[in-house]
């Protein structure tokens, strides 16, 4: 049953709090040496799942296997798993060296061995000779590295990370993202990372599971999640998207024509079976939409619309523009091209915009 190269297997695991299903019959497998993220909004059950893996909670049903071994009834201090906590949970009453050496000392390792392993580990995370420092003397990024070193020195099969970047400011967070990925590549330990920040998940991971209401919406590579979302939730949660609701006016297998309540019609690639008359939702990414001052540039298969610039959202490379479609007043968010061609665009200006229907995706609305 156990696949040899899976470090973590979660098999139909459920955890209920009263009537609330925090984790609902969930299964997953994480390959050895990979960086696996669980992405979801707060309250989706991702922390519960992580605590089930770490052993702080026991599942109501199902089984967690780590390194092929069942973890049923195995206490957290006996599992080959270590965790990096949300606020790191470094021991303020101990020095950096004592923090990193804590786990080894608990295993009964001899003092000289502990000193040697701690020194090596601190060197590997870029903090050589920091043993005697107090925790409050470290910067946010250094604390992060000590927390990871403290776990990795025990050579766990699996390292769990519970939104460890959440408490850092933006600049440092960007920096630590890269550092975390390098550390993981360096050590080759399997990382399971939970976050509500989709950019962290996309940048860091080999595989991402998008979680909502105790279930996985989709598991795949970051590229799959971004370009081929399988549910409206994933399309809306991962990356920016223009979301349009309406009914399917026509469906011919290859393309669906959506008609919105305001009367806008657009075509998009269907995901799953859609019949004419179904309530549907279409998603169009801002960078898929092209802008043009001259409507003639937008040739088939691009469907084109006319709109007026509502406001400019300048954010360097992520700059976008908010447009209102002229006839129906539907709002579109459109990314500005990097070429600087539209650097002189002003609010109130009239432009044409359009997109390839194959690059927009359409879902049938569940329960409609």
């Amino acid at each position: 049953m156990a696949t040899p190269d899976l470090d973590l297997e979660v098999d139909c695991v459920s955890k209920r709090y009263g009537t609330h299903r925090a984790v609902d019959d969930l299964s997953l497998g994480v390959r050895r040496g990979s960086f696996f993220s669980i992405l979801g909004p707060s309250g989706c059950g991702k922390t519960t799942l992580l605590r089930l893996i770490a052993g702080f909670l026991e599942p109501d049903s199902g089984e967690v296997r780590i390194g092929g071994r069942s973890m049923r009834g195995v206490l957290p201090n006996r599992r080959p798993v270590n965790m990096v906590f949300q606020h790191l949970a470094l021991f303020p009453m101990m020095s950096v060296g004592e923090n990193v050496g804590y786990g080894l000392a608990r295993r009964g390792a001899a003092q000289p061995l502990i000193r040697e392993r701690v020194a090596t580990m601190l060197k590997r995370v870029g903090l050589p000779g920091a043993e005697a420092k107090r925790i409050d003397q470290l910067s946010g990024g250094q604390k992060q590295r000590v927390a990871i070193a403290r776990s990795l020195v025990l050579e766990p099969t699996l390292l769990l990370l519970d939104e460890p970047l959440g408490a850092l400011d933006l600049k440092l967070r960007e920096h630590m993202k890269i550092e975390l990925k390098q550390l993981q590549a360096d050590f080759g330990t399997t990382f399971v990372y939970i976050t509500h920040d989709q950019s962290e998940a996309l940048v860091l991971s080999d595989h991402v599971a998008v979680m909502s209401a105790g279930r996985f919406e989709q598991v795949g590579t970051p590229q799959e999640l971004y370009y081929q979302p399988r549910t409206p939730f994933v399309a809306a949660f991962v990356g920016d998207n223009n979301r349009l609701k309406g009914t399917a006016a026509r469906a011919d297998g290859d393309l669906v024509e959506l008609e919105s309540a305001q009367g806008l019609t657009l075509r998009a690639r269907p995901s799953g079976a859609i019949a004419a008359g179904d309530a549907v939702e279409a998603f169009v990414r801002p960078e898929v939409v092209s802008l043009s001052r001259d409507g003639a540039e937008l040739v088939a298969p691009v469907q084109s619309f006319a709109g007026r610039v509502e406001s400019l959202l300048f954010d360097g490379a992520n700059s976008a523009v908010l447009l209102r479609e002229e006839r129906t007043g539907t709002e579109f968010r459109v990314a500005l091209p990097q070429t600087g061609r539209f650097a002189d665009l002003r609010a109130g200006e009239r432009v044409a915009f359009g997109f390839d229907p194959q690059r927009a995706v359409c879902f049938k609305v569940a329960g409609a």
Partner: protein, 327 residues
């Protein structure tokens, strides 16, 4: 907003600070410093002139109504001429020469330390339960339960213990009814009874600073230690106790001082045998009108509590300022 920057050195600000602090200063000076200066002066006072024949000297070995042995009395003159003092350490020498006095002194210190330790042993799990295990309403209910006994005066509470523990009281009768003892046992007037009373009186003063200290302990630290292979005992020793140390110290200092200076509980629950040092002070001041001796004893008690608190802090490597700030 430069007007908001208050210059603490400006004369007007200093005057305001002084006026604000004045009530506290008057209180400290009038009720604490001055009486102790007076105590020190009284305790060092020797009645003069020494050549006056003593009137009505009681002999050593006699036991007065106050239960105090009178060994030292005949070695110095009794009260003959009021307000004539000469400095000497005679009152302190009496304390050293008379074994009953310093035995009582050492016994009071030892019993107070034991009572503090017992209070800590009971208070720590209590505070832990209130802070870390109880949730929502139960939490505040439990704190209120700790507080409720203090709505009743200490005298009434102690009398309650007497009703429970005396020979004809509730507990001995109950033990007979259960067949554990054949006849009622007198449970009052024992050292253990004094300890029970003292621990009961002090528990709140231990639980509050401990609860404060444990409240600030992040649960994630405990989980992290557990995750890294720690067990209950090592986590308690390496994570919880170091974190709660200032709270433990603050609670212990308060309880120790309250216990050392307690008069009512040892007297009522221990009776004549309680031999509590505050009773000696009371006897000197009230029963025997020997204010000089009483003052010397009072000063000795102050020195004792200071030394033991200092020792306790030194042994656990803490600073008084830190402890009081964290508690």
């Amino acid at each position: 907003m430069s007007a908001m920057n208050v210059d603490l050195a400006a004369p007007r600000t200093r005057l305001a600070l002084f006026l604000l602090a004045a009530p506290a200063l008057v209180w400290l000076l009038g009720l604490i410093v001055l009486p102790h200066v007076e105590l020190a002066a009284l305790g060092g006072g020797h009645l003069a002139p020494p050549d006056v024949e003593p009137i009505g000297v009681r002999r050593a070995g006699q036991v007065g109504v106050d239960g105090c042995a009178l060994a030292a009395v005949d070695q110095r003159p009794a009260r003959v001429a009021p307000r004539i003092y000469e400095f000497s350490f005679d009152n302190y020498r009496t304390f050293i020469d008379e074994p009953l006095y310093w035995h009582t002194f050492v016994r009071t210190a030892a019993m107070s330390i034991i009572a503090t330790a017992c209070t800590l042993l009971i208070g720590f799990p209590t505070a832990w339960y209130i802070v870390k295990i109880a949730r929502g309403q139960a939490k505040s209910m439990l704190l209120v339960l700790c507080l409720i006994p203090f709505w009743v005066s200490e005298t009434v509470r102690t009398l309650g213990w007497m009703i429970l523990l005396r020979e004809s009281g509730v507990v001995p009768q109950f033990l007979v009814a259960l067949g554990i003892t054949t006849q009622p046992v007198e449970m009052l007037y024992r050292d253990a009874t004094i300890l029970v009373g003292l621990v009961y009186t002090s528990l709140l003063f231990m639980v509050i600073p401990l609860a404060n200290a444990l409240e600030s302990l992040d649960d994630a630290l405990i989980e992290a230690a557990y995750d890294l292979g720690g067990n209950a005992w090592s986590i308690l020793r390496q994570i919880v106790i170091p974190h709660a140390a200032p709270g433990i110290a603050a609670g212990s200092i308060v309880v120790f001082m309250l216990t050392l200076g307690n008069y009512l509980t040892p007297t009522l629950l221990g009776g004549k045998n309680s031999l509590w040092f505050t009773e000696q002070i009371y006897a000197q001041f009230i029963t025997r009108f020997n204010w000089e001796q009483g003052a010397a004893f009072g000063f000795l008690l102050l020195i004792l509590s200071t030394v033991i608190v200092w020792l306790g802090l030194a042994l656990t490597g803490q600073r008084f300022g830190d402890v009081m700030r964290r508690a």
